[in-house]
Symmetry: C2
Subunit: 415 residues, 2 copies
DNA sequence: TTTTTAAGTTTAGGTATTAAACAAAGTATT
DNA sequence: AATACTTTGTTTAATACCTAAACTTAAAAA
């Protein structure tokens, strides 16, 4: 057996045991630092059972004693905590983007311990070379002698493309030219730890949702993450679980029709949200308006093609460029049409605006909330907390890491 | 104790036991009639455990022996089955509509054993009188000496309005002028059996979904029920569970914007689907077209107000009236805009068209499928089976009855 | 008849939980 | 200081439920 398996998973345990372990771990995280008695009182289990399970958790490097604290009139209680940092167990979440591979080492609390970013080599990225790169980063993030590598819970990977989260097979990743690539199997073979592969928007959603609402008890109410960028995607989380759908394409927010008879979309439909509020559409709209109203804005050599990147457009918005602001406000109106529908339909408690466009702040948020007030039903709208994503590029890694960590206290009802 | 409690519920049992009971009941329903050995092989449990649990199930009037069958080389196996009909346990589902109270007695297989419809008294319906009526129908459906009443699993009630399915409290029911009416508590006090109260569209959705896909294993993929009538509502079922949302309003399909800037809706927004494709809108549109194109159609005394009920409009559609057909086709286009968005967003495996408008058949279905092909993404659309509801007015009762029955084999992970 | 085979039950042993007794380590009281 | 409570954590005995294996029952095969 390899050294990675030194800290071995409990292979068998009854369902009863799993449920009680999960209960204890959950309340421990919530009340930490906390003594066994309190865990017993809080979970409703007997002190004997709590002791027995805590012993197990200590053996597995999940929990440690912090020594006795002040007496409460009798024997001093021994405080327990979930082991923080490298000394406890860890997970690593990777984000694969067009140009970078970013790995984030996360501890048992879901906190970032270390991160590392590599530029991807130019040209076609062979899946096998990605596996090499990931293995390299795993070692760099932990160090071959690091306790973290011996207690590595698992490795996650977020890929921009269509992924079957169960098999971990990348069905299509246009940006990399991959089709039916069994990345999970390849990585597990190499790394000898459980691997989770999923779409990166969904992973980011998990990260942001956990960060915005990191109760140990996942809320049963829907929470929506919206990714506004070149494309417009989303992820819906219900009872802490991502909605995948029958073909793993759930969350296609960008192809909701908001302007019937409007501009043709790449998907064949007309008036899709993405076709009117995706970043490319906003850039064109900006150029169009500028040409019509203030040609002076387009400072360029005469005869030069008016070229503008999305990034520079977003900078202009942030800098307070009024024309760019108008374009964003127009987009907000369109986004609100789709979002109001989804709010009415799913009745979420939280909507997180992510993706590059979300980072312009009130330029988007103000017109969006106004339009929502006009278009969404009052009752569902009143339940929604609308926030801007805050984890930026780290969301994917954090989401995957936290997901792997939370699987430690998950109850598996076999079939 | 009252006589209703003669067949008493198992009050305590470990989680392990619950899981195994559920497993056995599920496979029993699937393979019935079947012997203990086969259950053991199929579930992976030992024959001893199967015997012990089957004994319990027999005691609880859920399962019975059918006698031995042909030997397979040794002792003859004793076949078991879930008790059908009144001899086994039953549940009753009620539908409360504007004018009627319909009760449906359902057996352990979810099959209809008996049903009864009462006209509601004219005028305001006191919640307390509804409780009386329901108690009366329960007795009429079972008879005071009927075995069914002694094995009644529970009673369900579908109400047109906003219901908290957990507390069973009717928050708002405009048609009856109720607000915060704790119907569940009132009924449980009277009937002394568990009561489930929910919105009737959601209950109908459960009924149709179970009927269309009655595997004992609920599919993890979303399934959508659409109710097309005066209003337009829907219910989304994921992993066999209804999506409720943060304020129990999930499923508001009618207020998805399909025509921005279109006609004003009662909700304050403009261009809601309900405002252009709800039955009242279709009737007005029909009258408008008729007035413009074929005034002769509107056969009425001169000076009479052109009055047309929804029911008569639907009859016209069914009779092949071309003008009415055009109106439905127009509506289908609008419905498709919203439905395509929801299909893209939730990626369902099944969409069931319910409500009065759905019953016109291909007049709706043909233009709808055509429009969907234009507007929905190919991959999600390819996963959808689009069907018309088939249970009619019985859907609500069947859905509630089947839900109550399925709760018998449900595992409850306390908090 | 006797042997073999299969279905169902009983029994012995293991895991996991709880209540209750017990040990450890403090505070409060005399 | 000695004694009496208190509280925490552990050990112990009883219980629930599972499994493997032995056993009983009842048929087919030899």
């Amino acid at each position: 057996m390899t050294q990675e398996q030194a800290t071995h998973q409990k292979i068998s345990s009854t369902i009863q045991r799993q449920v009680n372990r999960a209960k204890i771990l959950r309340t421990l995280k919530m009340l930490q630092p906390v003594a066994r008695v309190d865990l017993a009182r809080e979970t409703g289990l007997s002190r004997a059972t709590v002791s027995s399970i805590v012993d197990e958790l200590v053996m597995e490097s999940l929990v440690e004693e912090m020594g006795a604290t002040a007496s409460r009139g009798g024997r001093r209680p021994i405080l327990l905590r979930v082991i923080p940092g490298r000394e406890g167990r860890c997970a690593i979440g990777f984000e694969l983007s067009r140009n970078n591979l970013t790995g984030i080492l996360v501890d048992l609390h879901g906190r970032v311990i270390a991160s590392h970013r590599d530029l991807l080599p130019a040209g076609y990225l062979e899946p096998a070379s990605l596996v090499d790169l990931i293995q390299e980063q795993v070692l760099r993030l932990t160090g071959p002698e690091d306790p973290a590598i011996r207690g590595l819970v698992g490795v996650g990977l977020g890929v921009p493309g269509l992924v079957d989260p169960v098999t971990g097979c990348v069905q299509v990743a246009v940006q990399f030219g991959w089709q039916n690539t069994p990345l999970k199997d390849m990585l597990e073979k190499r790394l000898k730890v459980p691997v989770k592969v999923m779409n990166s928007v969904k992973a980011a959603a998990l990260g942001e949702v956990i960060y915005n609402h990191h109760s140990p008890e996942p809320s049963p109410n829907p929470r929506l993450y919206l990714s506004l960028g070149q494309g417009i995607g989303s992820a819906l989380i219900i009872e802490g679980k991502l909605l995948s759908g029958a073909s793993n394409t759930a969350g296609e927010f960008g192809h909701i029709t908001v302007a019937p008879g409007g501009p043709l979309c790449t998907c064949g439909n007309s008036g899709c949200l993405e076709a009117v509020a995706g970043l490319p559409a906003l850039v064109s709209r900006y150029l169009e308006l500028a040409r019509m109203e203030e040609p002076s804005r387009l400072t360029m050599a005469p005869g030069e093609f008016p070229y503008l990147t999305s990034a520079r457009f977003l900078e202009a918005v942030a800098a307070g460029d009024s024309l760019a602001g108008r374009v964003v406000a127009e987009a907000a109106e369109q986004i609100a049409i789709a979002l109001a529908g989804v709010i009415n339909f799913t009745n979420p408690e939280l909507v997180i605006l992510g993706g590059p466009l979300s980072q312009v702040g009130s330029a988007l948020l103000d017109p969006l909330t106004q339009a929502l007030r006009r278009r969404a039903l009052p009752l569902p709208l009143s339940q929604v907390r609308l926030v801007t994503a805050s984890l930026g590029a780290n969301a994917v890694g954090i989401g995957l890491g936290a997901t792997l960590i939370s699987q430690l206290s998950e109850v598996v009802l076999s079939r």
